[in-house]
Symmetry: C2
Subunit: 338 residues, 2 copies
Amino acid sequence: MRVTTLHGARDLRIEEHPLPIVSESTDAVVKVVAGGVCGSDLWWYRGLNPLPTRRLMGHEVVGVVETTGSAVTRVKPGDFVVVPFCHADGTCVACRGGVQSACLELGSTVGGQGEYVRVAHADACLFVADPPADDLLLRSLLTLTDVLATGWHAARCAGVAAGRSAVVVGDGAVGLCGVLAASILGADPVIALSGREPRQGLASAFGATQCVGSRGQDAVRTVRRLTEGVGAHAVLECVGTGDAMEAALQMARPGATVGFVGIPHGVELPITEMFRRNVGVRGGIAPVQRYLPHLAEMVLSGRIEPGRVLDREVTLDAVAEGYQAMDTRQAVKVLVRM
Amino acid sequence: MRVTTLHGARDLRIEEHPLPIVSESTDAVVKVVAGGVCGSDLWWYRGLNPLPTRRLMGHEVVGVVETTGSAVTRVKPGDFVVVPFCHADGTCVACRGGVQSACLELGSTVGGQGEYVRVAHADACLFVADPPADDLLLRSLLTLTDVLATGWHAARCAGVAAGRSAVVVGDGAVGLCGVLAASILGADPVIALSGREPRQGLASAFGATQCVGSRGQDAVRTVRRLTEGVGAHAVLECVGTGDAMEAALQMARPGATVGFVGIPHGVELPITEMFRRNVGVRGGIAPVQRYLPHLAEMVLSGRIEPGRVLDREVTLDAVAEGYQAMDTRQAVKVLVRM
């Protein structure tokens, strides 16, 4: 099968690799209909994560079940499925506690910007839906695999609550989904840190009451001015850099929690300052399976349209153009059509 | 007045200083009946905090109101009072949000191991009680000024919940009060990390279901074994060292939060590991005034006896012996009788 493969910084190739197979009885193999390029893929693309040799890219997939292992009973070949990027068994102590992303038997989607993927714990993991009737719905279903659930996780970790202020650091797809999550959960105001179209427009469409376009200490001052002078009740950190976390902590009011879902790169937490101001941090890899039924219901009913973050589409052959568009912020998020 | 003054590591002197005065109309001056020596005093005593010149010691006080400012109406000279170590105005946005320890007009008790202290925001801050009928009640009231509220804060920050496991790192007075808090809040099991009497006995009396006497990785393994192999639902970090925080994080199960109230000294938070396991940290200076009414009710009704942590009493002249007893762990906590 053909799959996007990274060989070094900005060195993406479409290569022929063996078809993934059902290796455990609980596995399924899914034929990819559409894959996503994730902000976290860019860490690799930009050479900011150490790359051992090469890496099969893509962990966001919607597709059609091709084959299933003998123990799989809930999904069957031909089913249209949403594939959470983490494959949790649904039964271990971490899963039962709602942290499926720390499943003791965790698998994950590999090579989703390609033709086929293997899915572990298929029964526990796959979400079966009707094949989407239109393109926006397809895109929204694709966000369920990672970015919508990740933005939602940021909001939940930050303790977003109705009638209380929330601020979202980061205007990538996850940040924008964080805005949507905060809005759905009733936060008011919902302040998005974004200085440019089309991201500001998307943030507003997703429920942001204000967009702050300044950066650094200017942004901190503006957010504080909008939040009784002391910062927001909940802060969603959706970037992962040291600067973003520093700003997020400064925008949090005493007693608030920063919900962080950006993969930390060069983040040092100022614990004495956190102690002095009673500001906490909480987050991590999103337990997609925990949130998926609820989020899918909102998508399928048309209540939310998170698929709008996917503002560019490429074919597999043109995947490098997609990465480049995200790398240069020309696109918010790219869909790869198989 | 005579007051305990630190001039350098282990250099404590009883000195004559001017009487504190009512300098704001909302102040009161309190004649100290009993002061406490706090674990946080030991950081100074041991020379681990930079000491500019000298420092008046003591922030835990119960006493009798001596004089009040013209705007003070709720307390009057002669009232027996519990003095929270942080003096919050009770009206600012931080106070209204329940984080009185980050009050925008915060004052604090200074020189409480001495004859008199000034209290800012006296009406908002002081808790009036009947003069205690016995010595244990006096001691319990003294714990309300800091350590009981601080242990309670650790439990609340850690999200202690009924029927869920809690582990407490630290067997000083705050840690023991954390055990008491976790137990009152219904945690089960309540695991105390303590290897020695009388601390183990106190932990058990306060509701610990297990005491773990080992240290380091041995303790981590033991706690994990007691908590389904993955760690506790809630972890209370009541020490403040890097080692204690590291152990606390390792004892937390995926999705758990470490509630930390030990003043951080040399703590570096491993954010990538926290991200990977979805373990959060949250805590800081306890908002004593928030918890005081509820905690005082439990003390006054006899439901809890946190004063048992005060297992040594000294006069002001012998305060150095008290510090030495705590420094060498001969005493859990020392009461200074005026």
